[in-house]
């Protein structure tokens, strides 16, 4: 059992007092920045980078990794309590988490998020320990054609996300696709819909749209519905999970963990996509899918497990191939190289203490996070009893600070305000923002990979069918599409989804 001896070696490193201390510092800081909307791990890790200079490389990496997965825990807190995604990957948690909070079940939502994340974190750690090198090879099988087909499948699945009318869901996806087109086209270098505004030339940031249509919109809506808010403060009940909750959440956590572990490996937004995917799947397979969007506990458990598992397994391409799968991982590369470590296939053999120490620290860190977060739940729920007239200026201020910190640009704040107003219009029209966000993420990636695949195949469109992985995903997408549009099924779908 090589994996056990390796993990023991890793635990030996992770459990030294100094590493425990820095691991704790990392997860604590991560939880805090996770709770604060907008302020994300990228800015935090960048600022701490020079400070890690004096540390032992393993200690430094343990702390920086702790910030990252700590933020995934914290991100769900603000999503559940005030409908503001604290981290990009907790956007989906808003959908049902916030509804649970409105029904006075914020405590249960926070508990299931923390426990689901803990479970997913532990499983993903074992996945990294046991299968990192072969999984990295799988990630390499994903070329432009495979990514395109994956995005097609994602878009079809996006339709499932909405719980209103099908037409409106499709309209929102298309609007998302259009918003994703803004900025310089990667393939041709042509600037699209940027109106000669330099800030738009790299496109609109996901966080800006998400904060706008969730956070700012929510504040506007709440200010309009004064009485409704007051009702939901008064009936904050049971902090803990009931037996029925556990029964409903357990399979959701398991499926979420599986999806997160798989999608996290793929470069390009693994953790984020995985939470969307887990939610869609859960909604499809769940017996009470009608409850989704109205406070279903599975709708919190699945995406939260998925994003934490994804955050963890996104270390795989970094540790085994030296390829960062997201901006945080790019910073980890920076942190490693500054200490003279070349991330890549040799790490496991050349620096086993570092590799296994870091992996073991993730398990230790996850345990710390759950211990840290569970007692805090009572405190967080109390926050809901703060009168809204005092709470909302604070929410807006933190949002604004967070958005500004993305690229030190005031323009981004104005843009988010604009999306907030747009989101309010959506609420009035009963259109869901979640499919819009998914279209916004998937659209540009789909276009980019379609054109890259065509460029590499010299205009031969059969590549999408001759690559087996790509073909498999297209077939799956077609099957999904059939289910959605087939008349008989559609009728049933509408019965289920229309309120």
């Amino acid at each position: 059992m090589e994996i056990i001896s390796n993990l023991i070696l890793g635990l030996g490193v992770a459990l030294t007092p100094i590493n425990l201390l820095y691991c704790f510092a990392g997860v604590l800081l991560g939880t805090l920045i996770g709770v604060l909307p907008g302020i994300g791990p990228v800015a935090t890790i960048a600022m701490l980078l020079p400070a890690t200079f004096a540390l032992n490389p393993v200690t430094a990496l343990i702390m920086l990794a702790g910030i990252y997965y700590g933020a995934q825990y914290g991100g769900s807190t603000s999503a559940i309590l005030v409908n503001i995604p604290g981290e990009t990957s907790s956007v989906v948690t808003c959908l049902d988490g916030y509804q649970m909070a409105r029904q006075g079940r914020a405590g249960a939502a926070l508990s299931v998020a923390a426990l689901g994340s803990f479970f997913a974190g532990c499983v993903a750690t074992v996945v990294i320990a046991g299968f990192a090198p072969p999984l990295a090879e799988v990630a390499l099988k994903f070329g432009p054609a495979e990514y395109f087909s994956l995005m097609v499948m994602g878009l079809v699945a996006a339709v499932v996300l909405a719980h209103g009318s099908l037409i409106k869901a499709i309209a929102m996806i298309v609007l998302g696709l259009l918003l994703g087109l803004v900025g310089t086209d990667v393939n041709s270098g042509v600037s699209r819909f940027s109106f000669d505004i330099p800030e738009l030339s790299d496109g609109i940031g996901f966080v800006i749209v998400a904060m706008g249509v969730f956070g700012f919109t929510e504040v506007i809506v709440n200010l309009e519905l004064k009485e409704a808010r007051e009702v939901f403060f008064k009936k904050v009940s049971g902090l803990w999970l009931t037996r029925a909750d556990v029964k409903a959440a357990t399979p959701a956590v398991l499926r979420g963990t599986l999806i997160g572990s798989v999608l996290g490996i793929l470069p390009g937004g693994g953790a984020l996509l995985s939470s969307f995917a887990a939610y869609s799947l859960e909604k499809k397979v769940s017996k009470n899918s009608a409850k989704f969007g109205k406070g279903a506990i599975e709708g919190v458990a699945a995406p939260e497990s998925a994003n934490n598992a994804g955050a963890q397994t996104s270390f795989i391409p970094l540790l085994t191939l030296g390829i960062p799968s997201n901006p945080v991982m790019a910073l980890m590369v920076g942190a490693m190289t500054i200490h003279g470590i070349q991330p890549g296939p040799q790490i496991v053999t050349n620096q086993p203490e570092m590799f296994w120490g870091m992996i073991a620290s993730m398990w230790v860190g996850n345990l710390m996070l759950v211990v840290l977060n569970l007692p805090m739940i009572g405190l967080w729920v109390k926050l809901l009893t703060v009168p809204y007239r005092m709470l909302f200026p604070a929410i807006l201020l933190f949002c604004a600070i967070g958005i500004y910190s993305l690229s030190n640009s005031g323009f981004d704040i104005y843009l988010a305000v604009l999306f907030g107003l747009l989101g309010y219009v959506f609420v009035k029209l009963a259109c869901e923002p979640a499919p819009l966000l998914l279209g916004f993420i998937l659209g540009p990636m789909m276009e980019e990979n379609l054109r890259r695949a065509m460029l590499l195949s010299r205009g031969d469109a059969t590549v999408f069918f001759t690559h087996p992985i790509s073909l498999g995903m297209l077939i799956a997408a077609a099957a999904l599409l059939l289910i959605v549009v087939a008349p008989a099924v559609r009728k049933k779908r509408e019965d289920v989804f229309v309120e």
Partner: protein, 322 residues
């Protein structure tokens, strides 16, 4: 007691003389604008430099990332700042490439700035995936590309990126028939190169080291005039048969035009001191850049040459971003 005494005297003196003259500079925190996102090598070098300067000059040097639009957003913010030495700008080769690609910039890459110093050079390396390309050296690589025109692609981090221009320069000097494939970032380009979806790429040495040592990628030549310390066995382009090819991605520290000569010189020597300390040198070597310093005058001259050179390459390869 003596220390406290001298501290008090020092404090009084500094408040008395606390005006914006070069003698007291810096008397408040200095901002270094990095027109790229955090984590890139420009950012890492800026943070190492900022930490060193904070220690040696007694004031905080704060890094502010202002990424976007091929570094032009952060750069125009710096160009508009007061030329008092409290706003500095960290640029890379992109600074003299973007003006050829983006229309109507609100600044002139040379005239809008007082150049403080060159900081570093970063060699690039021509990489091929050995499972896709049979060539063992640059000459064979050129021949192979000519024998099968446009079947060899080179991946870059986007239109107008230095990775693309390194390739564009190579194509224009050798007549190799390579086809450019842009990606959103250098790591995405690297991933597809490793997987063999694209055949070749010009990449920063530090990004490729691990893969070269593992044998998954083959390094044919480095782009600089001298060999890279990290890849001593890899020939330079000139040694490999492309006479006249020498290019690197450099980093420089600038201030808005009109910054006083005294402050520029003061910073120039402080930068030189900071980057010549062994730990700074080592940290920079680790991220794949070699410390390379110069006087303000020399760097001003060099930047003008580079501006002309990359302009020609961008023009020859037909690169535009709108």
């Amino acid at each position: 007691m003596k220390i406290i005494h001298s501290l008090i005297v020092g404090f009084l003196l500094s408040t008395l003389l606390g005006t914006a003259s070069a003698d007291t500079y810096p008397s408040r925190p200095v901002k270094i604008i990095v027109p790229f996102g955090p984590g890139g090598f420009t950012d890492v070098v800026a943070r190492v430099l900022g930490q060193k300067l904070s220690a040696s000059m007694g004031q905080a040097f704060v890094i502010e990332n202002k990424p976007g639009a091929g570094s032009t957003i952060g750069t125009s913010a710096a160009a508009k700042a007061d030329p008092d030495g409290y706003t500095l700008l960290m640029v890379s080769t992109t600074h003299v490439i973007s003006p050829w690609i983006y229309k109507d910039l609100p600044y002139d890459p040379l005239k809008s700035f007082s150049i403080i110093s060159k900081l570093a050079d970063s060699p690039y390396v021509l990489l091929v995936n050995p499972q896709k390309v049979a060539a063992q050296n640059v000459k064979e690589f050129i021949a192979e590309s000519k024998a099968h025109p446009e079947s060899i692609h080179y991946a870059s981090s986007g239109n107008g990126s230095s990775q693309q221009l390194m390739g564009g320069l190579f194509v224009s000097m050798t007549g190799a028939k390579l086809k450019h494939v842009p990606y959103r970032s250098s790591s995405m380009a690297m991933q597809d190169l490793l997987a063999g979806f694209v055949e070749s790429s010009f990449a920063g040495v530090s990004n490729a080291l691990a893969q070269i040592h593992a044998g998954r990628l083959k390094a044919l030549a480095v782009t600089t005039a001298t060999r890279s310390a990290q890849l001593p066995d890899v020939p330079t382009m000139q040694e490999a048969g492309v006479p006249g090819y020498h290019a690197s991605v450099w980093l420089a520290l600038l201030a808005p035009a009109g910054t006083s000569k005294e402050i520029v010189n003061r910073l120039n020597s402080a930068v030189a001191q900071a980057l010549q300390t062994p730990d700074a040198k080592k940290a920079l070597a680790n991220v794949g850049v070699d410390v390379s310093l110069s006087t303000p005058e020399k760097m001003t001259e060099y930047m003008a040459q580079e501006y002309a050179r990359w302009g020609k390459v961008a023009h020859d390869s037909g690169i535009t971003v709108d």
